[in-house]
């Protein structure tokens, strides 16, 4: 596996403020990597560093095996798509696509060929003579992608490209970007704060917080076995249910005691030895809790329904357990009136356990 983009020990400081710290990242050829995090986590900053739009303070950046740490953005073999589209408003779509190539003195015949190809791939041929102001948001973003496409580069950088679009267009264009990746097979680095985009598009997701990559893995791993409390809470909607408790040893078995309720960890694939008295946080996703469905090996507790939020395909129940609200996702046709007593079944095999102090997975 050859590395397409390689980031080594990258740091970025603005004066005394450290934005990125000793970051290492290897991105494989043809990989779709998503940088995911809340605003201010450094994901866009990292992308701008890769693009060369920001000068890094320390470290190195390699693209296609070439050290581009000091290269100008245009010489790095990248194309970039921006949140605000950043189309040149006074130029036609065609001119927007060809302007950079003309400046780079690419022969006109070659320019025409590339523009035609990009227009075909993105299906914007009818728009070529129009100006950006005459296009819809989705069309503009397609042109912006086209501008990256004509550059004939190995690596595409996307900086929150769908954030300015409405929900429907966003999901349409998301599919298109995925299709584009499948047909072009370029390396793509994609910044977003939207976990749905991240989960649907990515080969691998890098979840970032405070300028540090919290976890780098494929979407299912990120979702199923979050490395720490932050990743667990950040991914998934509604959020994972968390129970604070302490480990208790009983007959050689580890049990989490949450306010008197016991969760037997026999089926939990713990990585380390759990010590008695250790403060922990138990995390269970809403869809991993069964309601009134006895399953062998599941831990059961009694609770009463507080309210329900029917959402069509799903029904979200809110209940009180151990003095805190928890959410449970069940099938849409199963309805519960408030105050209905139910039996909850917890599967410890799919649960997550974190150390309350280090917040790391146990």
């Amino acid at each position: 596996m050859s590395s397409s983009v390689s980031i080594r020990d990258l740091s970025l400081n603005f004066g005394a403020v450290s934005v990125l710290q000793h970051l290492d990242l290897e991105i494989a050829d043809g990989e779709f990597l998503v940088l995911l995090g809340a605003s201010g986590c450094g994901k866009s900053t990292l992308l701008n560093c890769i693009a060369g739009l920001l000068d890094i303070s320390d470290g190195q950046i390699f693209i296609k095996g070439k050290n581009v740490t000091w290269e100008e953005p245009k010489d790095r073999g990248i194309g970039m798509v921006f949140q605000s589209y950043a189309l040149y408003p006074q130029m036609t779509v065609e001119k927007n696509l060809s302007f950079g190539l003309q400046v780079a003195k690419v022969p006109q015949a070659e320019i025409d060929k590339r523009v035609a190809r990009a227009a075909e791939i993105l299906q914007i041929q009818p728009l070529l003579k129009r100006k950006p102001a005459e296009l819809s948001g989705g069309q503009r973003q397609r042109v912006a992608i086209g501008r990256a496409l004509v550059r004939d580069v190995d690596v595409f950088l996307f900086d929150e490209p769908l954030s300015n679009l409405d929900a429907k267009l966003r999901s349409e264009l998301r599919v298109e970007i995925k299709r584009l990746h499948q047909s072009l097979k370029n390396t793509m680095i994609y910044v977003t704060h939207d976990q749905i985009e991240a989960l649907t598009l990515a080969d691998r997701i890098a979840v970032m917080k405070g300028g540090v990559i919290q976890q780098l893995a494929d979407p299912m791993t990120i979702y199923g076995t979050p490395e720490n409390l932050f990743v667990a809470g950040f991914i998934g909607s509604p959020s994972m249910n968390f129970f604070r408790g302490a480990i208790r040893q009983e007959n050689g078995r580890s049990i989490v005691d949450v306010g008197g309720l016991a969760f037997d960890l026999s089926r939990y694939p713990a990585r380390a030895l759990l010590k008695a008295g250790q403060k922990v946080v138990l995390g269970v996703r809403p869809e991993h809790i069964r309601v009134d469905e006895p399953v062998e090996g599941f831990i059961t507790h009694q609770a009463a329904v507080d309210i329900e939020e029917p959402m069509g395909a799903d029904n979200l129940l809110w209940l009180n357990l151990a003095g805190q609200p928890i959410s449970v996702r069940i099938a849409g046709q199963r309805r519960y009136a408030p105050k209905t007593p139910v039996t909850l079944g917890f599967d410890m095999a799919t649960a997550s356990l974190f150390d309350a102090e280090t917040e790391n997975r146990l």
Binding site: M1, S3, S6, R8, D9, D24, L25, E26, A28, G30, E31, D55, I56, S57, D58, G59, Q60, F62, G65, N67, T69, W70, D203, R204, I213, Q215, L216, A217, D218, M220, T221
Partner: protein, 313 residues
Amino acid sequence: MANPGSLAVTVAGADAMSDSLAGPRGRRPQRSLSGRNIMIYGTLAIAALYYLLPLYVMVVTSLKGMPEIRLGNIFAPPVEITFEPWAKAWASACTGLNCDGLSRGFWNSVRITIPSTVISIAIASINGYALANWRFKGSEIFFTILIVGAFIPYQVMIYPIVIVLREMGIYGTLTGLIIVHTIFGMPILTLLFRNYFVSLPEELFKAARIDGAGFWTIYLKIMLPMSLPIFVVAMILQITGIWNDFLFGVVFTRPEYYPMTVQLNNIVNSVQGVKEYNVNMAATILTGSVPLFVYFVSGRLFVRGIAAGAVKG
């Protein structure tokens, strides 16, 4: 799928591609930047010199005695600093008949600027408030006429105003001039206040109306306390504008009420007597010092004021 689950964190990257670890690392060297910086800062410095030069010349000339001015060059700093020109400019320079210096003009300007500023802002803020929140039939038409009127050269309107003021018996008085300043300050100030009040959340106004507050109560109790910054901007605009006015001063007042700018021009450009350049420059600085003071104190608000004043419509 590429390498699922792996953390792919190369501790130092030393194992994989140790050969390519050589080469550029860290911050881009500032190679071509120095030449670029010399160009940028050099140009800015030269421009700054052009802008600062007159101020410098004014100050050094005003501190020299006349013999030194006749012998030396105007850029040379004073050999012997004297404040006599300043004293003379303030208290005893001659304009036509009377020789009591610029002080008379200064106090006239004060007596013109303060009431004009207060009255014009009071009227314009209420106008702007009415236009923003209490639109009535025709209000936008009057406003449009007002704004278009801001572009009409004053020369077209001054004579009719002279006639109106003469009929009212206040032509040549400070009162008349104050009214003129209020009139010509109205378009830009009304626009300023209208746009500001429009930018305030409408819900606030609606909530107050539901609570039973009327036109004046809402203005005094809700709009006014929220609008301090825009009042300061309007003040800056008016104080500098009125203080710097020349045309209205010369047209609408009698010589004993001439504002400072008119008096300054009469002192410097009087054809009688020997030219005293040091006194002239001291008088010029004195006249310019009030708006300069406002400018340096207000800083960013001044920029905001002129930007607001500039972007009409």
